[in-house]
Symmetry: C2
Subunit: 438 residues, 2 copies
C-alpha cells in the first residue's frame, strides 16, 4: 500500500533513500564477476561468448549462430501482427521526426586577421546497441536507440540482445530493428555482450559507443569499459514523479504510478500533491487497479518499497522536492503545467497536463525514452543524436594574427614553465631566428 507523508523532513529523507536505491555498496561484489567476464571475452573472443551464453542464458550456440541470419530477419515479419507492425511504423516515424530536429551542424566563423574558428561535427564510426531480452520483448528500446544512431548517420550499427528459449530473438525486436534500418543483430546479452562490443571478437565488431539499458551486470560492464569506448549512461531502475493539484484525476495518476512500478521491483513511483483528498483517492485507486494486475507481485513490491505520496502546501514546494530528486520522468498533472515548468530544474522528460501519460512518451510521442535515472538528471540528458556524434574544434591563424598574440602566448607559456610552447610561436613570428637555425 502507498504511504502518505506530510512532514517535510521525512519526505526529504524518503526521497533521498529512494533516489539512492541503486548506489548500494552491494553492487561492488558483482564487479568481480563482471571483470572476469570482460577479461575472458577480451582474451578468448567468441569462445567466451558461447561459454557465458550457455551458462547465463542456457542456450548452446555455435559461433555461426551468434549473428541473426537473413532468413530469421525475413521470417520475423510473418510473426508479428499487422497491428503491431503498424504501431512500430508509427512510432518509428514520430521518433525519427523528433530526432531530426536541431541535429548539430558544423560551423565556422571568420574573425579579424583571417582567423577561422569553428566546430566540425561527425558521427562515430560504429555503434553498439544493447536491447534487453529474456522474459520481455522491447521493440521500443530498439527504436529509441537505433533511430538517433541512424539520424546521426553512423556508418555501422550493431544490436546485441540475449537469446530467449530455443535461441530465439523476439520477432518484434527483429522487425523494429529492420524498420529502423539495422540488419546486424547478435544474440548475446549480459556483460559478455558489452565486452564483445568494447573489445571486438571474431564475429562481433569493436564499436566506438555502446548505448541501451540493461540489468546491473550490463550497467557495471558499461561503467568498466567506459574510457575504452563511449557509453550513453549508467541506467538504473525506472522512476516517475507526478506533481498533481486538486484538478488531477486520481484514476489517471494511479495508472501512471503503476505503469512505472510494473517495470521492475526496484522501480519508483512518487506522487507529490497539494491535495490531501487526492492523495487518499490515489491510494485507493492503486489498490483497485492492482487487483487484476498481470504482474501484481512484482508491481506491489515496487509500490511497497519505492512508492510514496507526499502532501505539500504549494506547487512550488512540490517543484523544490522534485528538483532534489531529479526524476527520470516528471508528470505535471496540474491546471497550468506551463506556469509550473519554470520552477523545474532537473528532470529527464517532463509530461505536461492530464492527457500526457508517460506511456505516450515511452512509445511514440517522439522524444527519447532512454532518460537519466537515479538523480542523474541533475547533470545528464536523454539519449539523442548527440550521443552518436562528436565534434572537433577548428582553428586557423594567419601570420598577422599569430604575431598579434605571440607576446601573450609567450607570457602564459613561460608562467606555466612550458618553453617549447613559447618557442613554437616565437620561431614562427621572428623569422630571423628561424633563418639562423634552419
Amino acid at each position: 500500500m502507498l504511504r502518505i507523508i506530510t512532514q517535510r523532513t521525512e519526505a526529504r529523507t524518503e526521497l533521498r533513500r529512494i533516489c539512492d536505491r541503486t548506489h548500494d555498496d552491494q553492487v561492488f561484489h558483482k564487479e568481480a564477476t563482471v571483470r572476469e567476464v570482460l577479461q575472458a571475452v577480451k582474451r578468448q573472443g567468441d569462445r567466451a561468448l558461447l561459454h557465458y551464453t550457455a551458462e547465463f542464458d542456457q542456450q548452446e550456440l555455435k559461433p555461426e549462430e551468434l549473428r541473426v541470419s537473413g532468413s530469421e530477419l525475413d521470417a520475423a515479419y510473418q510473426q508479428v501482427s499487422k497491428e503491431l507492425l503498424d504501431a512500430i511504423r508509427l512510432a518509428h516515424k514520430q521518433i525519427e521526426a523528433f530526432h531530426r530536429q536541431r541535429v548539430p551542424k558544423s560551423w565556422v566563423q571568420f574573425g579579424e586577421d583571417d582567423v577561422v574558428l569553428g566546430k566540425r561535427y561527425t558521427p562515430v564510426d560504429r555503434a553498439g546497441l544493447y536491447v534487453p531480452g529474456g522474459r520481455g520483448a522491447y521493440p521500443s528500446t530498439v527504436l529509441m536507440n537505433a533511430v538517433p544512431a541512424m539520424v546521426a548517420q553512423v556508418p555501422r550499427i550493431a544490436i546485441v540482445t540475449p537469446p530467449g528459449p530455443e535461441k530465439t530473438v523476439n520477432p518484434a525486436v527483429l522487425v523494429a530493428a529492420q524498420e529502423a534500418g539495422v540488419q546486424e543483430i547478435y544474440r548475446v546479452g549480459g556483460a559478455q555482450a558489452i565486452a564483445a562490443l568494447a573489445f571486438g571478437t571474431e564475429t562481433i565488431p569493436k564499436v566506438d559507443v555502446i548505448t541501451g539499458p540493461g540489468n546491473i551486470y550490463v550497467t557495471l560492464a558499461k561503467k568498466l569499459v567506459y574510457g575504452t569506448v563511449g557509453i550513453d549512461s549508467l541506467a538504473g531502475p525506472s522512476e516517475v514523479l507526478v506533481i498533481a493539484d486538486e484538478t488531477a484525476n486520481p484514476v489517471f495518476i494511479a495508472a501512471d504510478l503503476l505503469a512505472q512500478a510494473e517495470h521492475d521491483p526496484m522501480a519508483a513511483a512518487i506522487l507529490i500533491t497539494t491535495d490531501s483528498s487526492l492523495a487518499l483517492k490515489v491510494v485507493a485507486e492503486v489498490e483497485q487497479q492492482l487487483i487484476d494486475h498481470p504482474r501484481r507481485t512484482l508491481t506491489e513490491k515496487a509500490i511497497a518499497h519505492y512508492g510514496l505520496i507526499i502532501v505539500v502546501d504549494s506547487l512550488e514546494t512540490a517543484a523544490e522536492l522534485s528538483n532534489e530528486f531529479a526524476p527520470e520522468h516528471l508528470e505535471l498533472e496540474v491546471e497550468d503545467p506551463w506556469a509550473l515548468i519554470d520552477h523545474i530544474r532537473h528532470a529527464g522528460a517532463i509530461f505536461l497536463g492530464s492527457s500526457t501519460p508517460e506511456a505516450v512518451g515511452d512509445y511514440l510521442a517522439g522524444p527519447n525514452h532512454t532518460l537519466p535515472t537515479s538523480g542523474s538528471a541533475r547533470y545528464a540528458s536523454p539519449l539523442g543524436v548527440e550521443t552518436f556524434m562528436k565534434h572537433s574544434s577548428l582553428i586557423q591563424y594567419s601570420p598577422t594574427a599569430l604575431q598579434k598574440v605571440s607576446e601573450a602566448v609567450d607570457v602564459l607559456a613561460t608562467a606555466e614553465g612550458l618553453s617549447s610552447h613559447a618557442d613554437s610561436v616565437r620561431l614562427r613570428t621572428k623569422p630571423k631566428q628561424i633563418d639562423s637555425e634552419s
Copy 2:
C-alpha cells in the same frame, strides 16, 4: 631520438601501442588506493581531506585553511606581473567569445492536434573544477574549465587544486579564477579532492559535475565517482599528431612536437609526412632544440618512448592513419589544409596551416584545450558549455491527440507485456470506463 617508420603495418602497430599507452592493466592496482581514499572522505569528510593532504602533499592544514581566503585572493593580484594579467585577460576574452557561440537553447515545436514537443536546457546547480598544481601552475586550465561553466550560468562553481609548498596556491591560478568569476577555491588535490566534490564534506560542497585534468589517481577517482556525479572525460597524457607535406617547415614542426613532449614523459608526439627529407630534417631539428631545453630529461623520455615519424605515400593515407589514432591535437601543416579536412573523421582539435601552432589553441585562440585523449576522439568531444548543461524533453498531448495514438500505444504496451502502460492511455481515452471506476 625520433624514429622514422616507412612500413605501413609497422606504423599501425606502433600507433596502436602509443594510443593504448594508458590502457595499461597496471592502473587497476592503483584503484585499491583510490577506493580507500574515496571511502575515507565519504565517511570522515574534512578530517580525511586533511589527513591525505598531509600524507600526499606534505602540507598540514587546519579545516579553516581548506578554503583560500579573501585576502589571499586579493593578494594574488599583487603577485602576478602586469604582462601576465594582460595575457590572462586576453585569453579570457577570447575563450569566452568562442564559448558564447551556439550555446544550446530551449525550444518547443507545435504539432497537429495541439501536440507540443521540445527540449528545455538548464545548467547544473553546482560544478567542481579540478586544477592540477604541484610543480606547475596552470592558469590556462582554470580559464578553460571555468569559462564554459560561467557561460552555462552554473550558479555555484568551486575550484580544487593541491597546495604547493607553505600551503600556497599559485597566484596566477587565483587571478585566472577571479577573472573568470570564481571565488570559491579549495586547496586540496588528488583523489581526495574528487571525493570531496562527489560526496561533499563539512567545508566543500557536493557538486553535480566534476571537470578538469589530473594525474592517474585523479582520473581513476573520476571514473569511480561517475554515476554519482557527472564528469567531463577520463583524461590521459597529452598527444599531438602532425600531418605535413613538403611545404612544411621542419623548425616549426620540431617545436610543436616538443611542445607536446615537454608536458609529460607519457606525452606522444607523432609526425606523418609525405616527404622523407622533411622527416630527416625534423629528426635533426628536434635534437637541436632539445640541447638547451629546460625540461630536457622528461622531454627526451617522451620523444624516445612515444615519439614517431611515419613516412607515407599520400596525404589520404596520412589522414587514414590519423583517423585510426584519433589524436587529441591534429595539426595539418600542408599546403591546402581545408582540402584535407574532409578526410579527417576523428580529432579533438584541428589546427590548420603553418601559422597555427597548437600552443595558440592551448592558451587563447578560444576553443577549449580540454580535449579527448587516448583515442577517445573516436566518440568524445572537447569540454564545452554543454558539459555544464543538460536538457529535459517536453511532451504535451491533447485529448484528441491521445485518442489518435491510443490504439498504437495499446498494441506496443501489450507486446511488451506492460498492462498498466496500456491502461494509462485506455483509461484516459475511454471516458465511460473512468466514470465507472471513479
